[in-house]
């Protein structure tokens, strides 16, 4: 069988689309399926030459979906640049509150806006019904719940970051505000309701997964390594910790690695058909060293969760696989809802902490020239690496965003679905739906850097062995 070079078309305004190409062999069977996500790689150059203190604000331009994650990862890196290894309690807890607010709103949004239609209506439902409007019509209470949870998280971001867009809360060495009593009391009034809704969401995801376990176990699933931050005692920690990598059986590939030296453990491969890089664990190489990040990886990698209800939920989650790592792609949704509950519990815990009203906000140390900031963003581990010269200007930036970490797994998921559901030379509605569902499990950030009103398509193309396009469908 001959090979065919696939060329990604130049992209104009729309950065945020996913393109899937499925290549058939001469026997008409799937030989390869690839997901092309267009990632604009100019950002790292854009910030070169900018003063380091601007970076935590500037990097929020990178993503309209998770600006808070970039804000915090950059701020953590800049803490190192100003020589601060440990923030004041008020600064660290304010940042954590901001981060859990981000996690809360992002997970709630993904579940109610994007996932619940798939679960409630089924993969084969008409896309005109299988969307958030359909949920609003048929399950209005659930839809309101999703909107109000999202709003709650956004309000926490506003209170901690200063504003919802281009927050300035985290600064090198600390934070620029604390939480007022009035703000705290406002959030406390609603937290019990939010936690109740977290439990409802968790139940929906759990019950769905268990009821469809046989089908889901074979739906774009595969064994993989998993990478995440964990605390020194092995607990899940979404804001700070050391790197841990495990294999499909839970064996540790590396553990408690200081992320300042991440580049000794993680490498990135470039492939000619994708603008997005393919990270892998260096010691294993690109063929077997690729890994998953995000909620599934975090639940698999940690030893425990330090909030009571989420820990019960984690044990319940792992009981499905007898305590071993869960490698079912669609289990991401259940894992994400465990984290939603964890984020809610953490927010409640922090709101009761008087350190949030403290006045000791910023520290300074001895200036350094290089630093790395890592955070567990909603979609997974987010790496920010900077070098700063004696004129305080950034001379090097390397970012590995969460969706990039999941690049190979998303390709695997798409290929698995294509092999199982493609029949003949036509992209059926059923196949298109399932490709969409498999990618969505990873909650990829396809719209980094720019939005596009009404133009967020998924394009699926089918090519024969000679490279001819047999079919093309667009979901927009």
């Amino acid at each position: 069988m001959g090979t065919r070079k696939i060329v990604i078309e130049p992209v104009t305004r729309v950065e945020g689309h996913g393109k899937v190409t499925i290549l058939l062999d001469e026997a008409g069977q799937v030989s390869q399926a690839r997901l092309h996500i267009v990632e604009f790689r100019g950002f790292e150059r854009f910030i070169q030459g900018r003063p380091y203190w601007e970076i935590p604000v500037l990097v929020q331009r990178l993503c309209g979906i998770c600006p808070v994650s970039h804000h915090l990862a950059a701020a953590k890196a800049m803490d190192g640049i100003v020589g601060v290894d440990r923030l004041t309690p008020t600064a660290e807890k304010m940042r954590r509150l901001m981060h859990y607010g981000q996690m809360f709103q992002s997970h709630a949004l993904h579940f109610f806006h994007l996932v619940s239609p798939d679960l409630l209506f089924g993969f084969d439902a008409d896309p005109l019904e299988r969307n958030v409007i359909g949920v609003a019509r048929k399950y209005p209470e659930l839809a309101v719940q999703g909107v109000m949870m999202r709003k709650y998280g956004q309000e926490i971001i506003k209170a901690t970051a200063g504003k919802k867009i281009h927050g300035t809360g985290a600064i090198p060495g600390g934070i620029n505000k604390n939480l007022s009593i009035a703000e705290r009391d406002g959030f406390l009034k609603e937290i019990d309701q939010m936690l109740a809704w977290c439990r409802t969401s968790l139940t929906i995801a759990r019950d769905y997964t268990l009821e469809h376990l046989d089908e889901l176990a074979d739906f774009g699933s595969f064994d993989s390594n998993h990478v995440s931050l964990v605390r020194a005692d092995g607990a899940m920690d979404l804001y700070h910790g050391n790197l841990r990598a495990i294999d499909k059986d839970g064996n540790r590939i590396f553990d408690q690695v200081d992320y300042q030296g991440y580049f000794k453990y993680i490498a990135e491969e470039v492939k000619p058909w994708s603008y997005m890089k393919f990270p892998f664990i260096s010691s294993l190489g690109p063929e077997t060293g690729w890994y998953r990040v995000g909620p599934l990886a975090r639940i698999n990698a940690c030893d425990f969760i330090d909030t009571p209800e989420a820990e019960v939920a984690r044990k319940d989650f792992l009981s499905v696989t007898d305590g071993q790592p869960n490698n079912i792609t669609m289990a991401y949704h259940w894992a994400r809802m465990v984290e939603l509950l964890h984020a809610g519990e953490k927010i409640r815990e922090l709101l009761h902490d008087p350190d949030l009203q403290g006045g000791d906000l910023v520290l300074k140390g001895e200036r350094r020239g290089e630093s790395v900031g890592l955070i567990e963003a909603p979609r997974g581990t987010l790496f920010h690496h900077y070098k700063v010269d004696e004129n305080d200007q950034v001379t090097m930036a390397n970012l590995i965003v969460s969706t990039t970490n999941n690049n190979t797994p998303m390709n695997r998921a798409v290929e698995g679905v294509a092999r199982k559901y493609l029949s003949g030379a036509e992209i059926t509605e059923g196949l298109l739906n399932r490709v969409e569902v498999a990618i969505r499990a990873y909650d990829p950030c396809l719209s980094c850097a720019t939005h596009a009103m009404g133009r967020m398509p998924l394009v699926v193309e089918l090519h024969d062995a000679a490279g001819r396009t047999l079919d093309r469908r667009v979901r927009d």
Binding site: V11, T12, R13, G16, H17, G18, F40, G42, F43, F46, L58, R61, L62, G64, I65, P67, S106, L109, H110, F112, H113, L114, L128, N131, V132, I133, G134, A136, R137, P140, A143, V144, G146, V147, M148, R150, K151, Q154, K164, I165, E436, I439, R440, D443, P444, L446, S447, A449, T450, H451, M453, G454, M456, P457, L458, R475, D476
Partner: protein
Amino acid sequence: MKTLVLGYGNPGRLDDGLGPAFAERIRLMGLPGVEVESNYQLNIEDAELVSRYGHVVFADASVDSAEPFDFRPLDRHAPMVGFSSHSITAGSLLGLAEALFGSVPRAYAMAIRGYEFNGFGEHLSPAARNNLGAAVEFFGAWRSACRDG
């Protein structure tokens, strides 16, 4: 009747920032009865926000609208668009406001023609700046006409 101007787009991506730039210009005008919000993109919680207004103007950059801008009423029942982005269209947002909060404003799209999107930079192209000026001028007149009418 209160009016909300909701501008959205990424100000770090050249002309993609036309929506927020429009919102900022309107905010500076200090028009009575006009409130202003801006964000990277529309989000589902904006359904609750828009349900509290009589009129809402959604301002966004456009790659292919008429020059200098296109201003038109919005259909509140437009179908949901979106594969994996967390954004939502203005039409879907109106449908959501009606379905969940029982109130939907009269809504308009202000699509301002932009030209440069493929890069990073916190500035508008000269042509987009001109189009922005025309859109702001139009909005002031439209708002006056609404109040007089």
